[in-house]
């Protein structure tokens, strides 16, 4: 691991540069058309460094990251599965990289063909009637979904619907999205077994209900068994059902959201379809809809003229009821191509195996962790592709918290699971191993957990002070938030 702690700006020397990369300077004459009053007075304080310094600096920095390519990364709700290198190579083919987003369809047939087939693939695997690939992330997919629900009610003149129902265990994105779409949020309680409190839900449904947003399997890591009753309650009240595809990996190929009664779903291709997380993005959040929302899908979409075999764009001129464009062009195209590659490699049988083997891995890991003394939050339930442990007792007895255990895992070269989510389980880990990890990788994680639990009893400081082996020790978050230092100033 590198010790690089200097900033690129500190490598800067006036007059140094990667001269092979920039064209020769133009003369002032050639800039004379730009009025002097609009010209920059001082040159910006960008780094002046040579090519090797840049390559070395960013290569060294990269070694300070944990990554799927280096470690087991069981971050619950994030589906950190292997990101095939082949997908990256295919998406970076020059023909794809150099295509301008506004190039005419005549010069885009290859790209459009990939998108069209991906749309159909996603339609089939989710059981929806239409798919748009436009949203650029899960959160934007959610936005598109709820905006379509709103457009649907508005088109029917049904404008008394002001509320979106959300189970209390939901991701924070759900309520934030509902508000961005102009709705009020009403939370619905979740029972002790992880399922939605059906009676409370029925009571909450009414003429003010625009829809319900939910994840299934839920954020509690279990399959919502009353899904059909929930669907009926919401639909009977005139609301629509939104499926947050955060956990689609668990049921891919086994159950389709369309068959569960959902009207609109978003998928996270960076989770379920193995596109990279890239240190926090880009993702892609395609949406799928049932028949009644087809007219509102975000544009553009790829269309096929069956007769000529030519592909074209479907845009707002041919679909005027669409909720419109959510980006300047066509979403995160390069991510879509990676997902297309993955879908084509897996094919029909591969899709079914995703749900099966991610579920197998999670249940295995859960049972083995329980056997070494970990407490499951929902011990009577099957795990989906992920599950929750709670360390509330350890926190109370030994003052060793979920955060401490997470930090100590880093010392054992294991990325920590998601911690403190969902909010309703105290001191929790949300663990998602994914289908691409070997049994040995999971066994190593189990061994590390066993050692940490032992340390928590015998030598708690080792856990509460961890990590010891990373580039930095625990950071002062309070100082970071109070004395904001967001930009380097010499």
């Amino acid at each position: 691991m590198s010790n690089e702690t200097t900033l690129i700006f500190q490598h800067s020397r006036p007059g140094r540069s990667a001269t092979a990369q920039a064209p020769k300077p133009v003369s002032e004459d050639q800039l004379s058309a730009i009025p002097a009053s609009l010209r920059r007075k001082n040159k910006p304080g960008l780094p002046e460094v040579g090519e090797l310094e840049v390559v070395r600096h960013y290569t060294n920095l990269s070694t300070k990251n944990f990554a799927i390519d280096k470690q087991f990364y069981p971050l619950g709700s994030c589906t950190m599965k292997y990101n095939p290198r082949g997908a990256n190579r295919a998406a970076m083919l020059p023909g794809f990289l150099n295509r301008h987003p506004l190039a005419p369809a005549s010069h885009s047939q290859g790209y459009l063909a990939c998108l069209y087939e991906l749309q159909n693939f996603l339609k089939e695997v989710t059981g929806m009637k239409g798919v748009s690939l436009a949203p650029m992330a899960g959160a934007q997919g959610e936005f598109a979904g709820v905006a379509m629900i709103r457009a649907y009610h508005e088109a029917r003149g049904d404008d008394g619907r002001t509320e979106i129902l959300i189970p209390e265990a939901a991701h924070g994105t759900n309520p934030a999205t509902a508000v961005m779409c102009g709705y009020k949020v009403r939370e619905v309680p979740v029972g002790k077994d992880g399922d939605v409190d059906l009676e409370a839900l029925k009571e909450a449904c009414g003429p003010q209900t625009a829809g319900l947003m939910m994840t299934n399997p839920s954020t509690c890591g279990v399959f919502e068994r009353q899904i059909e009753a929930i669907s009926k309650a919401v639909h009977d009240a005139g609301g629509l059902l939104y499926y947050d595809g955060a956990n689609l990996n668990a049921i891919l190929g086994k159950v389709r959201p369309g068959d569960m009664g959902f009207d609109v779903i978003h998928m996270n291709l960076h989770k379920t379809f193995a596109t990279p997380h890239g240190g926090g993005g880009p993702g892609a959040g395609p949406v799928g809809v049932s028949q009644r929302l087809l007219d509102y899908l975000p544009t553009p979409m790829a269309g096929l003229d069956e007769e000529s075999g030519d592909y074209h764009w479907i845009d707002t001129d041919t679909l005027p009821t669409s909720i419109g464009h959510l980006s300047a062009f066509m979403g995160n195209a390069g991510v879509l191509l990676r997902a297309y590659f993955y879908a084509m490699v897996l094919g029909r049988e591969g899709m079914i195996r995703v749900g099966e083997y991610s579920t197998l891995a999670a249940n295995y890991l859960l049972k083995r962790l329980e056997a070494i003394g970990c407490q499951a939050a929902y011990p009577d339930r099957r795990a989906s592709h992920e599950f929750i442990l709670t360390f509330a007792k350890l926190a109370k007895d030994q003052h060793v918290t979920a955060l401490d255990i997470a930090k100590r895992l880093l010392d054992y070269n294991q990325h920590a699971p998601t911690i403190y989510f969902p909010l309703l389980v105290p001191e929790c880990f949300l663990i998602e191993p994914t289908e691409t990890e070997t049994k040995e990788a999971m066994d190593d994680f189990i061994d590390a957990m066993a050692k940490i639990l032992e340390e928590a009893n015998t030598d708690p400081d080792t856990v509460t002070q961890a990590p010891f082996t990373q580039p930095v020790r625990r950071l002062d978050d309070v100082k970071a938030a109070k004395e904001l230092d967001l930009v380097w100033g010499e």
Binding site: Y420, D477, V478, A480, A481, K482
Partner: protein, 128 residues
């Protein structure tokens, strides 16, 4: 055990009120600041803003949480604790004195009767 001064009135959402003539001084309780952890920022209303009891009047932020502050009584803001701009930790260190948030000129001091006494507030946090 957190401190709950007997002479103050409390709101269920953990604000306290000290009455000074027709002005209510508002802060958050020792229990609330302890639950939040180290505060890093306090967003206060503007002087002159008018609130009804129960309106959102500010936000306190720690690293991991943000919590709305509700106006415990109706009225107009007459003063805010500007020291919190630089030293939000005053709320942690001295919640009932130096860490006060804002003052409201009460429109109806009858609203005070609807607030909790120290004993009632103690009961509430015991049952949480």
């Amino acid at each position: 055990m957190s401190e709950i001064p007997a002479e103050l009135r409390y709101r269920q959402s953990h604000e306290w009120v000290r009455v000074d003539g027709d002005v209510a001084v508002v802060g958050i309780t020792d229990h609330a600041q302890d639950a939040m952890g180290d505060l890093v920022y306090v967003e206060l209303p503007d002087v002159g803003q008018v609130f009804a009891a129960g309106d959102e009047a500010g936000v306190v932020e720690s690293v991991k949480a943000a919590s709305d502050i509700y106006a415990p009584v109706s009225g107009e803001i007459t003063e805010i604790n500007e020291a919190l701009d630089d030293e939000p930790e005053l709320v942690n260190n001295d919640p009932y004195a130096g860490g006060w948030l804002f003052k409201i000129k009460m429109a109806d001091d009858g609203e005070l009767k609807e607030m909790l006494t120290a004993d009632q507030y103690q009961e509430q946090i015991d049952s949480e």
